[in-house]
Structures are given as structure tokens and as C-alpha cells.
């Protein structure tokens, strides 16, 4: 279904990438630090318990002492309390961090999507964008928040335990630690393969999202061409691929964890064998309590090792998600305002309207050439001067570049060479929003937002009164059909306006553009599906208030 290939991302764990991602999570850094601290304390508690057990066995059982029990109980209870509050704390923090990071990354990504230029949408299928915005961001929040929990707890636990063991009995400690490299090797071997399968899963997932999107958008066409079955078959291939790679990943994971557990048991056996013989040897170098502590340490230390391996695998498998999200966040719009322009006129989200110069609407193409990123040359050394108030009609064959010219005027694209001037000034010296705020553009296949007709027209200018809206509709001869609808102006248009006919959508988007009182008005085949015969010269001229320069390709 999808042609655009998912980029192939690097295979190794890329620390720089995660640092870049974590930089995007700045408002949540304080949570992450707090989680780290909590987890370190929690790991410390976990290491203290075996020591307390050792003390209890050696003092109260082996030596049979009875004094100091209260003090021991207090210390034990205190450690328990500390650990409990740590667990409570990190659960809270982690939940907050996960949800917060999700929302924050989505917000950033959505903002970026709003900023990106036409060319991005020309090249990127909707399905890919949707899977970046939903499943990928969700995955990142989860991996980062819970990954840090596990990483910090496991790291601190291994470190503190290793130190404790070395202090208690260096020889037995080395025995336990000697199994660690074997586990590390096994972990790396498995995780590499698990990761490869996960990558395949995620890649297929975004193709499936794409197929969903195409299936829904193209439903009507598929029916008219009787392609339902072919579409289903193609979809079945995709889901089949997804199932196969998911199962491969699951089987590998299922093999990996028992292997780690077995290796852990071997270490425990070694400790028991070695320590046991020492306990009963003549010298009695190792006390029963120490042995008990060691058994606890030996069984305990392998879980964090496999959980570190799991985190790295998680990080690696989420790396694809991270790369995709970071690549979206770092995609620079091809059309952007220079810092000087932003400084003076503000950006799209914080415009400094007070600095905006008035617009007359003179347009000049000065030796403009343009080609799309695909390399297709559309305009070559094109010159044109339009005075404010003039109407320009663009006539040409299908595909001759009419829409491109108006897209350049609107600064949806910029010339690859040459200059476009508005009111005599290179439009790159003004902000994009300044131009587009003074622009009325009616597309051939207009998009309406779900909501009522009235709301859709008000998108043109938010402070328009109902009266103005109705006047605009009368001006474009849309009122007749609107009033015939059951709820008139308050009729819901459906998602994308699909409850209306193409011609009706065109008229509404026409009214929407008109109400903004634009200085430059562009009609791109805007009335191709509209009967303009009752007012042959077109609606624009029937409202003398709106007499901006029009570009009307035919």
C-alpha cells in the first residue's frame, strides 16, 4: 500500500539521540531527577535487608543473644518504611512523568506539524504522521519514565550489592560476579535479534496505519472500481508480516528470560557450594548469616542485570520511535522567517501585529524560477507585475504551473531563484503570517472542518458577526442552498464537509475566504463545480467591497 519507504535507522543504541530527545522533555527534567534519587534510595534499602538478615541470624540465632532486639526491629521497620515511601513516591512521579511527557511531546510535534510547509505534506503520507503522533509518542513517554526507574534502581542495586559482597567476602563475591559477563553476552546476543524483529513490527505498523488511511479516504473509489477484495488481500499481507515479526520477537524474549534465570541459579549454587563448605570448615571464616546474605545477593543481583538488558532492548526498540519523533521535531519547515523577521513581526504563534505594515496588494514576480524537490521544473524565469485591485486570470493547460504560481504568491512555496515582491518589498522580509493573514485562498477541493456551516465560515475571521456571515453567503450565492438545508446555517457539515456536494463546499469556502476581507484573493478552479450562471461574472465582482487583486487560474 505504501510507497514511501520508512527510513532505515541506525542499528546501534544512539546515546546522542536519547540526549536530544530528553532535551525536548525539559519541563519534566525535575521529575526525572526526583525519580533517580528515589530509585537510588530504594536500591540502598534493598541492599540493607540481607545485611539485617545476616545480623539477625548471627546475633540472635547462632549466638543466641536476646538483648538489642527492639533496636533491631526499629531499624528493620525504619528501612521498610523508607522503602515503602520510595515505592509510593516513584509510582506517583513516574505516572506523572509518563503522562506529562506524552502530552508535551505531542504538543511539540503538533506545533511542528502546523509550522511545516506544503512540501512536507507532499512527501509524507498521513499514516506515517499519525503513527508518529500516537503510538510513537506514547511509547516514548513510557520508555523514558519507566526505563529510568528500572535503570536507576538496577544500576544502584548492582553497584551497592557488589560493594557489600566484596566487603563481606571478596572470594565469594568474585564467584558471583564471574557469572555476570556470561549473562551480559547472552543478553546482547538476544537483544539484537529481538530488536530487529521489533523494528520490523513498527515499520509494518505504520504501513498498516497508512493502509487504513487509504482504505478510508478511498472507500468510494474502491467501490466504484470494485477493488475491495484486492485491498483486503494487500492488507492481509501487511498484517501477516506484522504477526510473523511479532511472534519472532515474542519467541526470542521467551527464550531469553529463562536463560538469565538459569545462569542466576548457577551462581547461587556456586555460592552455596563454596560458602557452605566454608561455614562447616574448621576455620569457620564464613558465618551462617553471611552465607544467607550472599544467597540473597546472588539470587537478587541477576534480576537487575536482566532488567538492564531489557531496558537497553526497550530503549533500542523504542529508538525507532524516538528517531521518528525526533526527526519530526527536527524537520525544519522549508519556508520559514529569518530570525530578524521573527524579531520584528513575530512568529505564527506570537505575531507582533502592532509592527505589521499595511498591505496594498501589489505583486511582482521578478525572474522567478521554481522546481519541486522532486526536481520537476515548473517555472523558468517568470516575470509578472500585478497592481493592487487588478484581476489576473491564469489560463493554461493541465499541469502547466497555474497552481504553482498562486502557491508561490501565497508563500506556500518559495521561488528557487528570483524574487517575489509584495508592495515592492521581497516577501521574505515580512513574516509568513503577515502575508497569509491578508490572503483569501479558495482551493479546488476545499477542506471544511467538522462543525456547522456558520462555524466554518467564521474560521475566515473569528470576530465576524452572524450578519456578516450571511452577507458573505449571499455575495457568493450560497444562501439559497443553505436555507434549504434543515437547520440552515447551523447544519453540521460532517467531517471534511463530506455531507455537502463539492460545489457546495466550494461556495462555503468561498464565503469563508471573502469574510476575511483579504488584500489578495486567489481562486484556484474554485468554482469548477459551481453553477455560476445566475451571476455570470462570478460572485467576487458582485460584492464591490471586495475588490482585491485576484488570481484565478482557469
Amino acid at each position: 500500500m505504501q510507497s514511501q519507504q520508512e527510513q532505515d535507522y541506525t542499528k546501534k543504541l544512539d546515546a546522542g539521540l536519547w540526549r536530544r530527545l530528553i532535551r525536548y522533555m525539559k519541563p519534566y527534567h525535575k521529575y526525572l531527577y526526583a525519580i533517580m534519587a528515589t530509585m537510588a534510595v530504594s536500591a540502598l534499602c534493598d541492599t540493607i535487608f540481607p545485611l539485617l538478615t545476616r545480623e539477625a541470624i548471627d546475633t540472635f540465632i547462632t549466638e543466641g543473644q536476646t538483648g538489642g532486639r527492639l533496636w533491631f526491629i526499629l531499624r528493620y521497620a525504619g528501612t521498610l518504611l523508607l522503602q515503602t515511601s520510595c515505592i509510593f513516591g516513584f509510582c506517583q512521579l513516574c505516572g506523572r512523568a509518563e503522562c506529562g511527557i506524552n502530552r508535551h511531546i505531542r504538543k511539540l510535534a503538533f506545533k511542528r506539524l502546523e509550522e511545516l510547509s506544503f512540501s512536507y505534506y507532499d512527501q509524507t503520507p498521513v499514516g506515517f504522521i499519525i503513527s508518529r503522533m500516537t503510538s510513537d509518542t506514547a511509547r516514548l513517554g513510557e520508555t523514558v519514565a519507566w526505563g529510568i526507574v528500572d535503570l536507576f534502581w538496577s544500576g544502584s542495586y548492582i553497584l551497592i550489592t557488589a560493594v557489600a559482597m566484596l566487603l563481606l567476602n571478596a572470594r565469594m563475591a568474585l564467584l558471583v560476579l564471574s557469572v555476570m559477563p556470561v549473562i551480559a553476552v547472552a543478553a546482547v546476543w538476544f537483544q539484537k535479534r529481538i530488536l530487529a524483529s521489533y523494528r520490523e513490527v513498527r515499520k509494518t505498523n505504520s504501513q498498516i496505519t497508512g493502509a487504513f488511511n487509504e482504505g478510508i479516504m478511498g472507500a468510494k473509489t474502491s467501490k466504484t472500481l470494485v477493488r475491495e477484495e484486492a485491498n483486503c488481500n494487500e492488507f492481509a499481507v501487511l498484517t501477516g508480516r506484522m504477526r510473523a515479526s511479532s511472534i519472532r520477537a515474542a519467541v526470542l524474549s521467551a527464550l531469553f528470560f529463562p536463560i538469565v534465570t538459569s545462569l542466576g541459579s548457577i551462581a547461587t549454587a556456586l555460592v552455596l557450594h563454596r560458602g557452605g563448605s566454608e561455614v562447616f570448615s574448621a576455620q569457620g571464616l564464613v558465618t551462617v548469616g553471611t552465607l544467607a546474605a550472599f544467597v540473597q545477593y546472588a539470587t537478587g543481583i541477576f534480576e537487575p542485570i536482566s532488567s538492564i538488558a531489557r531496558i537497553f532492548a526497550d530503549l533500542q526498540s523504542s529508538q525507532a520511535a524516538a528517531e521518528r519523533v525526533v526527526s519530526l521535531l527536527e524537520t525544519e519547515p522549508e519556508i520559514f522567517d529569518t530570525p530578524e523577521v521573527v524579531e520584528k513581526f513575530g512568529d505564527s504563534f506570537n505575531p507582533k501585529r502592532e509592527n505589521w505594515p499595511d498591505i496594498r496588494g501589489d505583486i511582482e514576480f521578478d525572474h522567478v524560477s521554481f522546481h519541486y524537490s522532486t526536481g520537476e521544473q515548473v517555472l523558468d524565469d517568470f516575470c509578472l507585475k500585478v497592481k493592487a485591485g487588478q484581476t489576473v486570470a491564469l489560463v493554461g493547460e493541465t499541469g502547466s504551473g497555474k497552481s504553482t504560481i498562486v502557491n508561490l504568491v501565497c508563500r506556500f512555496y518559495e521561488p528557487t531563484s528570483g524574487t517575489i515582491r509584495i508592495d515592492g518589498v521581497d516577501y521574505r522580509q515580512r513574516s509568513i503570517l503577515w502575508l497569509q493573514d491578508h490572503l483569501g485562498y479558495v482551493l479546488q477541493q476545499p477542506h471544511l472542518f467538522s462543525g456547522t456551516i456558520r462555524e466554518n465560515i467564521r474560521f475566515g475571521r473569528l470576530d465576524a458577526t452572524d450578519r456578516e456571515i450571511e452577507a458573505a453567503c449571499r455575495a457568493v450565492d450560497a444562501e439559497d442552498f443553505i436555507l434549504k438545508l434543515e437547520k440552515g446555517y447551523d447544519t453540521e457539515v460532517g467531517e471534511g464537509g463530506n455531507r455537502l456536494s463539492t460545489g457546495q463546499k466550494q461556495l462555503i469556502s468561498f464565503a469563508r475566504a471573502l469574510i476575511a476581507k483579504p488584500a489578495i484573493f486567489v481562486l484556484d478552479e474554485a468554482t469548477s463545480s459551481v453553477d455560476t450562471w445566475p451571476s455570470p461574472a462570478g460572485p467576487a465582482s458582485s460584492s464591490p467591497t471586495a475588490c482585491p487583486p485576484c488570481a484565478a487560474p482557469t
Binding site: 500500500m1 505504501q2 510507497s3 514511501q4 505534506y121 507532499d122 512527501q123 503520507p125 498521513v126 499514516g127 497508512g210 488511511n213 487509504e214 479516504m217 478511498g218 468510494k220 473509489t221 467501490k223 466504484t224 472500481l225 470494485v226 519541486y372 522532486t374 526536481g375 520537476e376 489560463v395 493554461g396 493547460e397 493541465t398 499541469g399 497555474k402 497552481s403 479546488q444 477541493q445 442552498f481 434549504k484 438545508l485 434543515e486 455531507r499 455537502l500 456536494s501 463539492t502 460545489g503 457546495q504 466550494q506 461556495l507 478552479e525 469548477s528 463545480s529 459551481v530 453553477d531 455560476t532 450562471w533 455570470p536
Partner: protein
């Protein structure tokens, strides 16, 4: 549980079904609309539509925005079924014809065509419909990728690929729903000429329905239907209709006046 409910909302939505016993039939037969009525959610769109057309003829439909033109064509491909009245092909109610079969024989070029995101060749399979010229202009010709929903093509180019895609099939009936609105008049004529070319040399021309606002596109048709508010206000040939007072005459005068104006300016 919530997820399951939501999934069942999709799974349990009624799917398209054929009436039991529906089968295949020769569709190259006279088509008759008999008192057909239709509405969406209680909003009437078409009422009492009746006309007959012979196989191989061209029917042109003219009407204001929202007058029910596209709806009428949707009924013919059974994307919806008529609420009242019946549509007969060769005397047989189309409700008794299998939907899949019907759609495979009725070529329908939608007003807003959807192209699949793959190459032009895959969208078409072969060349036709005067698209060859522009297709070979692309660096990769027929193997040019059409972006998702056809974004790398212009509106008119998309329409031409969509027309070509439909013409490739062996159609008994062909519907062009405002499909030529975004192509220039010259290409419009060339495509229509290509459609009727077969008539002279005896090969079979599908029964064709054309929706358009351009009278030049409509004038040659064997039958012109003028729709107003979901009803057929007038029907006849170009010659008949320009002499009747009504929407057709009005539009004709306006468009002719525009043309005269242009011609006198050129002269």
C-alpha cells in the same frame, strides 16, 4: 471492555448486502429511471425522476449545485439504493443485479477522484484517455509515483488519470461526474471525441452519463436532463431545450453572451 465495544461498533456496522437471488445481466440495454426518489437522513434529494435512455447513447445532466446530480449517479452504481421507484436496465430492476458485477460493468469517474499511492502505471495499468502526453513528461513516465492521494499531480492531471483508469475497463455504462471540470476545454473535447470515436466504426460505445456545467460539454448529448431541486425540470436535446424557456436556455444565453463578448474582443 470499552475497547471491545468500540471495535464492535465497526465490526457490527451493517455491511453492503445483495438482495437474495441477485445475479448478472446484460447491462448494454435501455436504462429507465421510473419515479425514483431518494433522500439522506430524511432530507429529500431526488423526487419523481423518470427518463429512458437507449444503449450507447449519451445523457448529459445539468443542474445547480446540490440539485441531486451526483446522487442520481450514485444510485445507478448502487452506492445507494433508491428509496422509492425503480431503476431498470433492460427491464430488470437493478436491485436484482449483484452489486459487484454491476460496479465492474459501470465505469464511474468520481468528482473528487482518489488515486492510490503507487505509480501511475499501477493506477492505470495501460495508457489511454489522452494522458499519455503528460505522463511521458514526467522523468519516470508511467512509473512516476503518485504521492498519497495523488498530491504530486495537479487537479486536472488527477482527473485524467482517473478517467483513463476507468476507461481501461470494459464498461457497459460510463459515468463522468463533473470529471472534466479541471481539465482545459481542449482536452475536454479531445477526451469526449475519443469516447464517441467508436460509434462510427461500429465498435460498442458505453451508455454514457456526463455531469457538467459547461454547455459545450453537454450540447452533443442525445438526451439532456435539467435538474432543479431534485426533480427533472426539463429533458430533451440541445436543439429542443434552447427553444424552451427554462434554466437551460438561461445558461445558454449567458454562456453564449460571454463567448460573443470574448470573440468580439479578439476581433
Amino acid at each position: 471492555m470499552v475497547a471491545m465495544k468500540r471495535l464492535y461498533e465497526v465490526l457490527d456496522a451493517p455491511v453492503e448486502q445483495d438482495t437474495p437471488g441477485a445475479g448478472e445481466a446484460d447491462l448494454y440495454k435501455p436504462i429507465e429511471f421510473r419515479h425514483v426518489a431518494f433522500g439522506y437522513d430524511g432530507q429529500p434529494v431526488l423526487s419523481d425522476v423518470s427518463f429512458t435512455v437507449q444503449p450507447g447513447q449519451t445523457v448529459a445532466i445539468l443542474g445547480a449545485t446540490g440539485s441531486g446530480k451526483s446522487t442520481m449517479m450514485n444510485l445507478l452504481q448502487r452506492l445507494y439504493d433508491a428509496k422509492e421507484g425503480e431503476i431498470l436496465i433492460g427491464g430488470r430492476d437493478i436491485k436484482t443485479i449483484e452489486k459487484k458485477y454491476l460496479r465492474s460493468r459501470v465505469g464511474y469517474v468520481l468528482q473528487e477522484p482518489f488515486l492510490y499511492s503507487r505509480t501511475i502505471r499501477e493506477n492505470l495499468a495501460i495508457t489511454d484517455a489522452h494522458s499519455d502526453g503528460f505522463i511521458t513528461q514526467f522523468k519516470e513516465g508511467y512509473d512516476t509515483m503518485v504521492g498519497e492521494r495523488g498530491v504530486t499531480l495537479s487537479g486536472g492531471q488527477k482527473q485524467r488519470v482517473a478517467i483513463a483508469r476507468t476507461l481501461l475497463r470494459d464498461n457497459d455504462i460510463l459515468i463522468l461526474d463533473d470529471s472534466l471540470s479541471a481539465v482545459d476545454t481542449e482536452t475536454d473535447r479531445a477526451i469526449r471525441d475519443a469516447l464517441v470515436e467508436g460509434r462510427g466504426n461500429g465498435s460498442r460505445v458505453p451508455t454514457t452519463f456526463i455531469i457538467s456545467h459547461r454547455l459545450t460539454t453537454l450540447a452533443d448529448a442525445d438526451l439532456i436532463l435539467v435538474l432543479e431541486d431534485g426533480k427533472i425540470a426539463q429533458q430533451g436535446t440541445h436543439e429542443e431545450l434552447i427553444h424552451q424557456s427554462g434554466l437551460y436556455q438561461k445558461v445558454y444565453r449567458i454562456q453564449a453572451a460571454l463567448e460573443d463578448e470574448l470573440n468580439s474582443e479578439i476581433a
